[in-house]
Amino acid sequence: MNPIRTIFLTEIGKGLWLTLRKMFSRPVTVQYPEERKPVAPGFRGRHALVRDPETGRERCIGCLRCAKVCPSRCIYIETERDPETKRMVVKRYEVEVLRCVFCGYCEEVCPVNAIVLTEFYEYVGYRREDLYFDKERLLANWDEFLTTQKRPYFNPYWKPRGVPEKMLPAPKRKAEGV
């Protein structure tokens, strides 16, 4: 080691000078519960089922694609045929969030953009049932989420940027915000 440096502690002085300078720079700490960082659009957080503004029901058509693509197999869907209108309706739609890995495959694969991972990340529960979302809960999540969003809301995964149109299913190509 250089003797001048050893005697005069120059390297330590330089380090201290740096930390002293940083003391007068703008702090980067976010005081979390009081302040929040803005969440980027398309953040993969709590699940929600999109409520169709026209019918007031869920948009989901029960095609089971999301249940099939899900790597952790945490989506359960049951469909039945409505005896009056003879259309398939979703009877049960449940997401076990504790098993979800938040990959976003479900929202990307859904042909009618019915499921979305919202930007809401603060959800905890004391029991497992609190984090087992059924259809009503998922729709309520959507209503809660929409109040915080600018309309029309559009998720980037609904129509991924840069993916050629011919690779997308037809309803996704002309997808619009809600």
Binding site: M1, L18, F102, Y157
Partner: protein
């Protein structure tokens, strides 16, 4: 008869009878970077024998992926080395693409190179932070986390997740960058070199840092090769082996960068190599960003890339049409992914990360084997700590930069 005092003292003094002092370091030790447990036999404070015991974070990822389709299994690779998940994804996707014979579009290759290098910077920042904290420098820890946060924010803007990104996909990437992300990355690459200089001001010539790192765990080049070290740990010993140069993947053959090497092979040299690598990674990101402008508007997914919803089995249309239903009736089963086996390795931040995949023609991999650098590096710990003090074990674990998620898988 109970042993007499005389016999007892004779036993203690006798080298064959003397029991070594055994210490279990970990699995909850804060400096073992996860759940590494080291079984140590000590003579005073000197390590006589060290025996790593691993497996506390075993989740069976290789076996799990046999029950998933190729696209689903990519999500698991996020959890290997959770600090640099984008690099793991890329390696896996490259392996499957080779199996499928896919040509990835240029824009997707550039985007992947950018996220890989971002993963390298963020991994090295976390390494520097924890390594410095273990050795006793608190300020560097805080500064590194401040800058890593910025990178994680950019990740969040790119793909919506901060740590387990799942950003690449087989045949390209999942989303294109927006212009704001590119602007922010330009800003980051502009500013980051000065940040590295700041860390260096703090510890590069600091006498405590030098005493704790110079001459600790020296690995000569031949020994490093024999122990199977890769990545910065090998380059610190002066062997310029880098997969990015030897077998370029993605866009690494388009960009210019240097491979920093050390001289003495001690902890300090490995530190220097990683610091230099961060600068080079910054340079690579910068060049890729410049090239991105040339490919504006191009697709980011290859033609013929498998859908996210991959079938497990596929039937081809009939060669001879069905008399009534025409070509709609499916005939013979055809392979979803061609049969065969591939090995693809990439330069992950920790070292050479390899994927060996065997396909039996269905949509699920028959076998996935991950060659994880951390696993090999942990096997080098006993050699490297022999004869050192207990406090130096922390420095050795830090300098090898092991992540147990990757080691135990």
């Amino acid at each position: 008869m109970a042993p007499t005092l005389e016999l007892y003292t004779r036993k203690i003094g006798h080298p064959e009878w003397e029991e070594p002092f055994v210490v279990n370091m970990g699995p909850q030790h804060p400096s073992t970077h996860g759940v590494l447990r080291l079984y140590l036999e000590l003579d005073g404070e000197t390590v006589v024998r060290c025996d790593p015991r691993i497996g506390y974070l075993h989740r069976g990822l290789e076996k799990l992926s046999e029950n998933m389709t190729y696209t689903q299994a990519m999500v698991l690779t996020d959890r290997l080395d959770y600090i640099s998940s984008a690099a793991n994804n890329t390696g896996y996707c490259l392996a499957v693409e080779k199996l499928l014979g896919l040509e990835v579009p240029r824009r997707a290759r550039l985007l992947r190179t950018i996220v890989c290098e971002m993963a390298r910077i963020s991994s090295h920042l976390l390494w520097l932070a924890t390594h410095a904290l273990d050795i006793g420098a608190m300020t560097v820890f805080l500064y590194c986390f401040r800058d890593r946060e910025w990178l994680l924010d950019i990740y969040e803007k790119i793909c919506g997740a901060r740590l387990t990104v799942s950003y690449p996909r087989i045949g390209g990437v999942r989303l294109d960058f927006t212009s704001e992300i590119i602007d922010e990355l330009y800003q980051f690459t502009e500013e980051f070199p000065t940040r590295i200089t700041d860390y260096e001001t703090l510890i590069d010539v600091n006498r405590i840092w030098l005493r704790r790192t110079k001459g600790i765990a020296v690995v000569p080049p031949e020994k490093a090769l024999n122990m199977g070290l890769t990545g910065p740990s090998l380059r610190g010993s002066g062997v310029p082996y880098d997969v990015r140069k030897f077998r370029p993947y993605d866009a690494y053959d388009e960009v210019e960068f240097e491979v920093p090497v050390g001289k003495n092979g001690d902890t300090y040299d490995r530190y220097r190599v990683r610091m230099e690598e961060m600068r080079q990674a910054n340079r690579i990101i910068r060049q890729c960003l410049d090239k991105l402008a040339q490919t504006e508007g191009e697709p980011v997914v290859a033609e013929g890339a498998p859908d996210l919803l991959m079938p497990e089995k596929k039937k081809a249309p009939r060669a001879v049409p069905h008399p009534k239903k025409g070509f709609m009736v499916k005939g013979e089963e055809v392979p979803v992914v061609p049969e065969g086996e591939v090995y693809v390795s990439i330069e992950a931040p920790k070292g050479e990360l390899g994927y060996y995949i065997v396909s039996d023609g269905s949509g699920k991999p028959w076998r996935v084997r991950v060659r994880a650098p951390s696993f090999v590096h942990i096997s080098a710990i006993p050699e490297m700590v022999k004869g050192h003090m207990v406090a130096d074990i922390i420095a050795v674990i830090g300098t090898l930069d092991v992540v147990l998620g990757e080691c135990d898988r």
